[in-house]
């Protein structure tokens, strides 16, 4: 994957064989700052600049948006939904489990 390239899970070869494992691996790479999350399901390898890592070029961003505009719209809606849910986490009965938002900070 070249620097500055915006990609989704579907571009990763192993994704069709082991989607869950690839998703987790990508999430870990984001945590380790090896790649950056652009939006839900879209990532990029930061370019190295003189003053630090750079975001993808405008051309690359436009390409990724034009390539899949529906994904971007869906991502924005998903982020709004999750943000609303995290603002007022549901009360989960103890026998059913835990609020994911709260459990993430255990």
């Amino acid at each position: 994957m070249s620097e500055g390239h915006v990609f989704g899970y579907e571009e990763l070869l192993d994704y069709s064989f082991a989607p869950s494992a690839v998703t987790k691996a990508v999430s870990r790479m984001v945590s380790k700052k090896k790649i950056e999350r652009l939006s839900n399901g879209k990532f990029y390898v930061p370019r190295k600049g003189v003053l630090g890592p750079l975001k993808p070029s405008d051309e690359e961003l436009i390409r990724s948006v034009l390539y899949n505009r529906q994904d971007v719209k869906a991502s924005i809606e998903a982020v709004k939904t999750i943000a609303a849910r995290e603002k007022t986490p549901a009360v989960i009965p103890p026998d059913h489990g835990w609020s994911p938002h709260r459990a993430g900070s255990f």
């Binding site: 989960i92 103890p94 993430g104």
Partner: protein, 133 residues
Amino acid sequence: MKTDDYQQALFDKEWFASSPCLEIGNDVLPDNIAYYIEGDEYIASRLKIVVNFNNKTTGEVTLNLFAEIAAELFSKALGKKISEELHTQIISEGPFNTTVDNKNVEMLKEVWPTGLGHTLEIIININTSAATS
């Protein structure tokens, strides 16, 4: 330990989040501990902490830290202090499977075929028969 965003695995109904790896020591391949939550969109039904032992020199420190994190998770997830018996079993790396307040608490040990290390997992999950009753 704090996880990243809770998100759905694509082409899978499962939702999950994982914490960044907490690394112990300065070796090339250090021991590490991570925390995972899994479930559906609205409810996390499985909490898991995993430790990978890669170095004998840091093993004792890593195990004590893992036991400390396990006790913290136990306290927050189950609302009570971990029992002395379970704590001892964690420290002795003994696999166990028990039930606490309708939740299964399990510890698994996997020794790697390479003989160069091993993994311990503590999993707290919902007793599904209790959840559906």
